[in-house]
């Protein structure tokens, strides 16, 4: 979504009281007129929910920008910092290696995107298009894997990582989720929904399986691939329980584990924790603002499968 679309609603919300004169032009999805008072009520409710969902993020941002001399506990609360400063962000970097943690998170998330896209596309294609004995068994394996509650197997995953000597490494953080069964099944469905005729034509023309996959099928499922990529990035960037278990060396921490450490050690320094959380959440909010379409699509496709 473009910036233009994001700024427009702000104007509408500001002009809510004067809605009445614009109301006659507004119709609902059935093409019927929406009454003025109903519209005003709707916007009132929308603004209320907006305050509840976005307010906490803004409060955290505001806290992170308040200087050491400003009272952050005042009552009534002060919503805007009187003298905004980036001082707290410098202090976070002095307290924990926050930029190293961000880099670790970025590495883990990027690796998760690549492995999931490649692995899920290949396996999805094999399940949807290739004929071989054992295809049903392979499909069943992924369906079963999708049903296993990850929280219940973390200890066994941890001992497996120890046996492989990969605990306390970023590779160990990425591996268990690097080709998720849900993504494989999503890609399988996307390939199944393609018309078979095009590939048949290529088959007759002598295209081998790799060419059919890479040149014909894959470009046609780019949308689903984008959904897989975005959710792989978000999942890895936001993950908490697994990195908490597998990483013990503070120099290897990802952002979420680093934040937990910051909170555990400097819980009384609210400005510091606030700055840390803003560093962790800002990249994802930017990503979301740019690629909303795919975030919403992912919910639909993931929920139907999951």
């Amino acid at each position: 979504m473009s910036l233009a679309e994001k700024t427009r609603p702000a104007d509408t919300s500001r002009t809510t009281p004067g809605k009445r004169e614009r109301a006659p032009r507004i119709t609902d999805e059935h093409g019927r007129r929406v009454r003025g008072w109903e519209l005003a009520l709707r916007y009132l409710l929308l603004l209320g929910v907006l305050a509840l969902t976005i307010g906490p993020f803004l409060w955290q941002l505001s806290t992170s920008l308040k200087g050491p001399t400003e009272d952050i506990f005042s009552s009534p609360p002060k919503f805007l910092p009187s003298d905004p400063t980036l001082h707290n962000y410098e202090r976070v970097a002095d307290t924990i290696p926050v930029w190293d943690y961000a880099l670790n998170s970025l590495k883990v998330a990027a690796a998760n995107v690549v492995t999931n896209c490649v692995g899920a596309a290949l396996a999805g294609y094999a399940l949807a298009r290739l004929r071989y004995r054992g295809r049903r068994v392979a499909t069943l394996v992924f369906i079963l894997a999708m049903l296993v509650p990850v929280e219940g197997i973390i200890i066994a995953q941890f001992t497996t990582m120890r046996e492989l000597g990969l605990n306390n490494t970023l590779v160990g953080v990425v591996l268990p989720g690097c080709v998720s069964a849900l993504n494989v099944l999503l890609m399988r469905n996307a390939f199944l929904n393609l018309p078979y005729e095009i590939e048949e034509a290529a088959f007759v023309d002598g295209a081998n399986v790799w060419q059919r996959f890479y040149r014909i099928a894959l470009p046609a499922v780019k949308g689903t691939l984008a959904v897989v990529a975005i959710f792989a990035f978000m999942g890895a960037w936001d993950d908490f329980l697994w990195p908490l278990i597998v990483l013990s060396d503070p120099s290897k921490f990802t952002l979420t584990i680093g934040l937990n450490y910051l909170h555990g050690t400097f819980a009384n320094d609210e400005r510091l924790v606030a700055a840390g959380t803003i560093i962790a959440v800002a990249p994802l909010i930017v990503l979301f603002a740019c690629l909303q379409r795919y975030f919403f699509r992912g919910v639909g496709e993931g929920a139907v499968k999951g």
Binding site: K6, P9, P56, L122, Y125, A126, Y132, N208, E270, L284
Partner: protein, 309 residues
């Protein structure tokens, strides 16, 4: 992981293409599926089986352990912490699921109409879903702090401050609130898709018959999105039973001074990790988590079928 497969896959299939007769080598499907199958097998299915096996052993992180039969499960029966965990995780389901089935539906109805600026509101309501649970947890820890925003607002209104993060039950309730707050946008999107399929004639007919908004909600909307409500109930109840991060962040790693806010997954994490971790015992708790998860799914599906008949 995937790259070796790619490189071995390409020359093979190219050879097949040149000969034109064998366009698909018998091995190529397996080469395509190999990375996924390997990862899934090694890091999901093997750990699952090994959790089941370990639950009958006294394995520790550094000690292989021996078969002990049902000893772990017998110990569970007398372990107060296990019962506290089971209680808290179950309470979590009871507290969170009704809210997550109903509130996102109301929210979806609120953002359904295409009025100016609605895309902005939809996106804004989804933002908590995008943020990490750690970020969300810490934001609310600060908001609900004894001297935080919520209490200072309460004070301004003349109320006395509430110890959201000091009372055992209030902590659990606050954590549930955070879970609901973070989940609203996600389930709202699911409901929006379902609402788009409700035929408008139904609404119009009900309106012509003089049904009010509440009446129409109960007699038209709810029956039309019932299967989605069941889906949301199933998804949210399984997720709620496995709650970890919210309570871990708000009550502390040990679930409060005496561990009275511990959930089952927190107990698994605390028991099974570290150099002295009791892998066998933690696996037994995990098996309980599996069983309850399956039971929850079956309960939701059964409730669905009963309502239908």
């Amino acid at each position: 992981m995937a790259s070796p497969t790619l490189t071995t896959g390409t020359p093979d299939s190219r050879k097949g293409g040149v000969r034109r007769v064998r366009r698909q080598l018998p091995t190529s499907p397996w080469l395509f599926a190999a990375p996924g199958l390997l990862i899934t097998g090694a890091f999901i299915l093997y750990p699952f089986v090994s959790t089941l096996v370990n639950s009958f052993t006294d394995r520790r992180t550094l000690v292989p352990g021996e078969f002990v039969g049902l000893a772990n499960f017998r110990e569970l029966l007398h372990d107060d912490m296990f019962w506290i965990g089971l209680r808290n995780s179950s309470l979590y389901v009871l507290g969170v699921v009704p809210a997550l089935v109903l509130l996102p539906l109301l929210l979806a109805l609120l953002v359904q109409k295409n009025i100016p600026g609605i895309t902005f509101f939809r996106s804004a309501f989804y933002t908590p879903v995008v943020a990490s649970i750690v970020v969300v947890g810490l934001i609310w820890v600060w908001l609900l702090d004894e001297r935080g925003l919520v209490n200072s607002l309460l004070e301004t209104l003349g109320a006395s401050p509430v110890g959201f993060l000091s009372d055992q039950w209030l902590i659990l309730l606050s954590a549930m609130g955070v879970t609901v707050w973070k989940g609203l946008g996600y389930y709202m999107i699911i409901y929006l898709a379902a609402l788009a399929n409700v035929p408008r004639e139904l609404h119009e007919a009900a309106a012509v018959d003089g049904a009010g908004a509440v009446r129409r909600f109960l007699t038209v909307t709810v029956p039309a999105v019932r299967s989605t409500m069941v889906l949301v109930a199933a998804l949210s109840s399984v997720a709620a039973f496995k709650v970890f991060s919210e309570v871990y962040l708000m009550a502390g790693p040990n679930g409060g001074p005496a561990g009275e806010d511990t959930t089952l997954v927190m107990l698994v994490q605390r028991t099974g990790t570290g150099l002295t971790g009791r892998v066998g015992y933690a696996s037994a708790i995990s098996v309980v988590v599996f069983v309850v998860t399956v039971v929850l799914m079956l309960l939701v599906l059964r409730a669905d079928r009963k309502e239908e008949s």
